[in-house]
């Protein structure tokens, strides 16, 4: 990709903006107790393989759970026989290569698809996260039901959404990803639902768990 070409999320970034790994992102910083940020630039790669096969054993992440792999990759057991890997922006090719090698080593039929551009991804962080999500999502978000590391699919404001509980520094945090075309709608719904909790838009911050490989 030419350096002059900038990738954009479905959500218009809140000013000020900057460019991270070729993506236009918001550089806004918020210290609000409940924060919503657009993490669409993260690399997102799907791996399809057999249910309960060698690939699953090698990834060691069952359905409805998530776990960190090397290089800050978050592996999510998205569906039976399907894993979604989230990683730092610009690393989709590397992640795809890694997943391809996992599949090849397992000797099982598999398919790796880069869906970075096909999914919108948001991070919701704060003590009130679960209470806010309860306004748009019917799943029980109590710690004993969906603890840190849980991953599941649900309707969220009537949009099919993947949810990953990924707490940050002891604060409840959820990664929410949906079909990119619904991204703008879902982002607005989340802001609307969060208004009573004084939600604020936070910019894109790459955390330790999602290392930017290209600096």
């Amino acid at each position: 990709v030419s350096e002059s070409v900038v990738a954009r999320s479905p959500v218009v970034p809140a000013p000020p903006t900057t460019v991270v790994s070729g993506w236009e992102v918001s550089a806004r910083r918020s210290a609000a107790p409940l924060r919503l940020s657009d993490w669409t630039p993260l690399a997102k790669v799907l791996l399809h393989g057999p249910v309960r096969g060698e690939i699953e054993r090698r990834l060691a992440v069952p359905h409805r759970r998530s776990g960190r792999a090397g290089a800050g990759r978050l592996v999510v057991g998205a569906e039976p026989g399907t894993w979604l890997v989230l990683a730092a922006p610009g690393t989709a090719a590397a992640v795809a290569g890694w997943l391809g090698s996992v599949g090849a080593a397992a000797g099982e039929f598999h398919r790796v698809v880069d869906v970075t551009h096909g999914r919108a991804l948001f991070r919701l962080t704060g003590q009130d996260s679960a209470a806010m999500l309860a306004k748009v999502c019917a799943v029980d978000l109590a710690d004993e039901v969906t603890p840190n590391g849980a991953g599941f699919g649900s309707s969220m404001a009537r949009v099919t959404t993947g949810v990953v509980r990924d707490d940050v520094a002891d604060e409840p945090s959820y990664l929410l990803h949906c079909d990119r075309s619904y991204g703008r709608y879902l982002f607005e719904c989340l802001l609307d639902a969060g208004a009573e909790f004084a939600i604020d838009v936070d910019g894109f911050t790459v955390l330790d768990g999602f290392i930017v490989s290209d600096g």
Binding site: R8, D114, V115, T116, H117, R158, G183, A195, E196
Partner: protein, 963 residues
């Protein structure tokens, strides 16, 4: 400004804040009160005694219960009708008005109904307005003027209505002493508890009790506050219980006024006005308490007749003196306490009639307020206040919804829950279970709370045993719940005179007796005939009295007569709360910001928002035909297919052959369901050895994916095929027109665009405008030389702008969906769903080349093979009206004599041909080119049209798109 001359000096348990005065208007005049006052208490403090007129006879009505259920204080607050004035807190600036009176509350013309009351018998409406039927419109017009209730605002309320989901282990319905104790015990046992209280504060009857009650209240409230795991909702009510302990909980007015906006940039931190909570509870503890029941006697609805709990609320919560001289009819300790409270507050208690000692009353006298009471011993006592304490209604509504049927105890003279009928997920505490001291009720409730928590934990433990072959662990021992007693109570339902039974519906005991005389002698029939229990109070005050009157009139016991059925909702729910936030998902292309900035007129296409046009679709058509145009086609469905068995799958789902599709080639296909009906169509290209990209119609993407998965997961589990939806992974755009290749050449380096290297129906991958990973198709929905470009979505806008810049000197323009529809119709390309319907098979399309019956098998083949032998289906043909200036609307019928033999499926005026064109489904005998058919226009005219030799009206040889 009225003075609060009926306000008492500060009381120990008052809930008003005397440091926060408020001002509001009643009937347009200024009134004052304090924060914490209800509308009713604030007005009562200023001496207001009449608040409304009754439904039918427009009799004057005052306070009865001074609570949410008070039928006499339904008022209009600003634009909001039917506000419960006995519950809604008064606010500064409120505009409060009486409802359904004219010209005013004091002098109401409709009170003339009282004069003709003897003609307004039960069933009056059924008997009077049914015949002659032709007069019903006139009846309706008049009756509407007598309809009760306030004025519905023209505009939607600005309030923010909301919903949320909850998954508590235990829901406790009722925040009185039993409810609080149960909640604390359940939470201490490890359960997550939702404690729901209808009043504005926890406490139940302890709130308006004496020193001992207030002490117990303080201890219980402190325990609730100190216990982790309890969420308390006040001013909220469990309105319904459904299967699986699915509970509807209405969280009421937490804040009025506009809520947050969709963008969240205003109103941040504000709370919704009302919220419907959908709770899935492990265990429901019903601790709804008891509701005091009125006594039936002549004049019992006069302003100045109060229930003992109503009097004590006014005295002890709001420091309002309800009268100057009182008579108290008491049959229980609460009546005794009310008499004592009245005396202590300086009200002259002229006489206490103790029903336990054989005392009684006959009637209350007065015109617009109580002036005297005739006692059963013949004495008449002058007074302005009559307080009655004659027993209780058990609000078993939630229990009934859980399958329970209340049981009448003739000794206690009230209904109780039938605990034996309740399932394991519903428990009962407090007055619904029995009687006792506060300490006894609390002890019982604690045990119930612990048992509720134990049952939840047990259920969770059983669920966590994932191995079905292992028997679940045995249940733990149930918590021992002490039994509650039942206090004896005199049978106090009606006096010797007739009086009002249903205050909200204006149904008297005399009406019920008349109904029985007419044969409506069961509770359910009499209810529907007289409307007793069908008003805003929904039986909470009047059900037991209704049953008692019916029992007496039919010479049966109350137990045998039984009750009517309690159904959800327990309390009224606003339409706003039911609706909640409006979640209507919409989908946007990555190019949407550009469309909005350039004046695109939006088209709602399913969930997609697409540019219909940019001002002049005809001009957009000409741009494509004469120069070059660019359209956003992102919604086209796209599926990534991968695996060695993809050709098998394609052969199965498409009607044509796919075994020999070479890498780099694209083929059009039609997909049918098993009945041969067209499911979808599109092109599929082979990008690599095992990699294919399938396109579908915009609306068919999900259906096709499910269709493919259905075959793979259920029928051919051994096939190695992976299907991944990638519709919005790409921004899709179509560059079409004679100069398309020249424009594209300026932004593509690594793909040879020469016609020989990249001919029609081929696919390539490469870079466009510096963006790698793009897919380029040479296909032509518009009938022009065109390239469909699928670009990684995040870069879509960049590529779109690059193409427009590259094409500027060729006169490039953008075009929308409307221009595309015209262009494709000129070319004769069908749209599945528009030119087909639920009966259109592939054999009807007039595209026999795409149906290969010599294939081994494909979905729909048997049906299509049969069709070949028994051809009677409509055929899709191109049609041109003889008069080219006429464009028959789509769906216009095609007639043969008086028979309908087809319809126009698509029609437009063609800018290219300067005439109208169309596609139509016609009977097979009319499908021959050159046949003249008759099109019936909506205005009644019949016009001739001619079937064309091919679907394409423009360039039928396909020269332009193959250039």
């Amino acid at each position: 400004m009225s003075t609060q001359r009926w306000r008492l000096p500060p009381r120990p348990g008052e809930v008003i804040d005397r440091s926060a005065p408020i001002r509001f208007t009643w009937r347009g005049r200024p009134y004052s009160g304090y924060a914490g006052d209800t509308i009713a208490s604030a007005l009562a403090a200023s001496g207001v005694r009449m608040f409304s007129r009754s439904l039918k006879y427009h009799r004057p009505r005052g306070l009865l219960t001074a609570s949410y259920h008070d039928p006499g204080v339904l008022v209009q607050v600003g634009p909001e009708p039917n506000v419960r004035g006995g519950h809604r807190l008064a606010e500064d600036g409120m505009d409060v008005r009486p409802q359904n009176v004219w010209p005013n509350l004091r002098f109401d013309v409709k009170a003339a109904n009282r004069l003709v009351g003897r003609f307004l018998s039960p069933g009056f409406y059924y008997k009077t307005f049914m015949r002659p039927r032709r007069l019903w419109p006139a009846y309706e017009h008049v009756l509407q003027r007598f309809a009760p209730g306030g004025s519905v605002p023209d505009a939607p309320p600005p309030a923010y209505y909301d919903k949320r989901y909850a998954h508590p282990d235990v829901v406790v319905a009722g925040g009185g002493p039993a409810g609080m104790a149960a909640a604390v015990a359940a939470a201490q046992a490890g359960a997550r508890v939702l404690l729901v209280e209808e009043e504005h504060a926890l406490g139940g009857h302890l709130r308006w009790g004496g020193d001992a009650d207030r002490g117990a209240l303080a201890n219980l409230v402190a325990a609730v506050g100190a216990t982790d795991g309890i969420e308390v909702l006040t001013d909220s009510v469990v309105t319904g219980r459904y299967d699986g302990n699915w509970l509807a909980i209405l969280e009421r007015s937490r804040r009025t006024g506009p809520g947050p906006t969709a963008t969240g940039d205003s109103g941040a931190g504000s709370l919704p006005a009302e919220r419907l909570i959908k709770a899935r509870a492990g265990t429901l503890v019903v601790a709804a308490g008891l509701i005091e029941r009125p006594y039936v006697f002549a004049g019992n609805d006069l302003p100045g007749v109060l229930l003992s709990t109503g009097a004590r609320r006014l005295l002890n919560l709001y420091a309002v003196r309800p009268g100057e001289r009182a008579v108290v009819l008491t049959a229980n300790a609460d009546g005794d306490a009310a008499a004592a409270d009245l005396a202590a507050a300086g009200v002259e208690v002229a006489r206490v009639l103790d029903a336990r000692r054989g005392h009684g009353l006959v009637r209350a006298r007065g015109r617009n307020r109580v002036q005297a009471v005739d006692c059963s011993d013949g004495r008449t006592v002058e007074c302005d206040l009559l307080v009655t304490a004659t027993g209780w209604t058990a609000p078993t509504s939630l229990l009934n919804m859980a399958g329970d049927r209340p049981v009448f105890d003739p000794r206690a003279n009230r209904f109780f829950a039938d605990l034996e009928r309740l399932g394991p997920d519903v428990l009962v505490a407090g007055g619904l279970a029995g009687d006792g001291t506060v300490a006894e009720l609390v002890e019982h409730a604690r045990a119930v709370g612990r048992e509720a928590a134990r049952r939840v934990a047990e259920a969770r433990r059983r669920r966590s045993t994932s191995d079905a072959t292992v028997p679940p662990p045995p249940d733990g021992a149930p918590e021992p719940v002490p039994a509650l007693g039942r206090d004896e109570h005199p049978p106090m339902f009606t006096a010797a005179t007739h009086g009002m039974v249903d205050f909200a519906e204006d149904v008297s005991s005399k009406d019920l007796v008349s109904a029985v005389a007419e044969g409506y002698d069961s509770a359910e029939l009499a209810k529907r005939y007289t409307t007793a229990t069908m008003g805003p109070t929904q039986g909470k005050l009047e059900l037991v009295n209704t049953v008692a009157v019916l029992a007496a009139a039919t010479d049966r016991s109350i137990a045998v007569t039984g009750t009517t059925t309690w159904r959800p909702p327990y309390a009224p729910v606003t339409l706003g709360a039911l609706a909640g936030r409006r979640f209507e998902p919409v989908r946007h292309s990555p190019l949407q910001p550009w469309h909005e900035a350039h004046g695109a007129r939006p088209l709602v296409a399913g969930t997609w928002i697409r540019p219909d046009h940019y001002g002049d679709p005809v001009s957009e058509v000409r741009t494509v035909r004469e120069r070059v145009g660019l359209i956003d086609v992102t919604p086209i469905g796209k599926l990534d297919l991968y695996g060695p068995d993809v050709p098998k799958l394609l052969n199965l789902v498409y009607t044509n052959k796919w075994s020999r599709l070479e890498i780099g080639r694209v083929r059009y296909g039609v997909m049918c369901a098993e009945d041969g009906v067209v499911l979808d169509d599109g092109v599929t290209g082979r990008l690599g050895e095992h990699r294919y990209l399938m396109s579908t119609t915009s609306s068919g993407a999900e259906t096709v994916e499910e269709w493919l998965q259905n075959w793979l997961q259920l029928e051919h589990t051994d096939w190695q095929v992976a299907v991944t939806p990638v519709t919005t992974a790409y921004a899709s755009m179509n560059l079409a027109g004679p100069h398309a290749r020249e424009v594209l050449r300026r932004v593509v380096d690594d793909v040879d665009l020469d016609p020989e290297a990249f001919p029609y129906l081929r696919v390539r991958t490469g870079s466009v405008a510096g963006v790698a990973g793009c897919v380029l198709w040479r296909i032509g929905f518009t009938g022009e030389l065109s390239y469909e470009l699928h670009v990684p979505a995040g870069f879509g806008l960049a590529v779109w702008e690059a193409l427009l810049a590259a094409g500027r000197d060729f006169g490039i323009g953008v075009f929308g969906v409307e221009a595309q529809r015209i262009l494709r119709l000129e070319k004769g390309h069908l749209i599945v769903g528009q030119d087909t319907d639920g009966l259109t098979t592939a054999a009807s399309l007039g595209m026999d080349w795409v149906v290969k019956l010599d294939k081994d098998d494909f979905a729909g083949k048997p049906e299509l093979a049969w069709r070949q032998q028994h051809d009677g289906q409509l055929r899709l043909v191109a049609l041109q009206p003889v008069d080219g200036s006429l464009t028959p609307p789509e769906a216009s019928q095609i007639l043969e004599g008086h028979s309908i033999v087809g319809r126009v499926t698509s029609s437009r005026w063609s800018p290219t041909l300067g005439r109208s064109i169309g596609l139509a489904l016609v009977a097979p005998h009319l499908a021959t080119p050159g046949t003249e058919v008759t099109v019936h226009l909506p205005d009644g005219r019949d016009v001739p049209a001619v079937v064309q030799p091919a679907h394409a009206h423009v360039d039928p040889e396909g020269v332009r798109l193959r250039e």
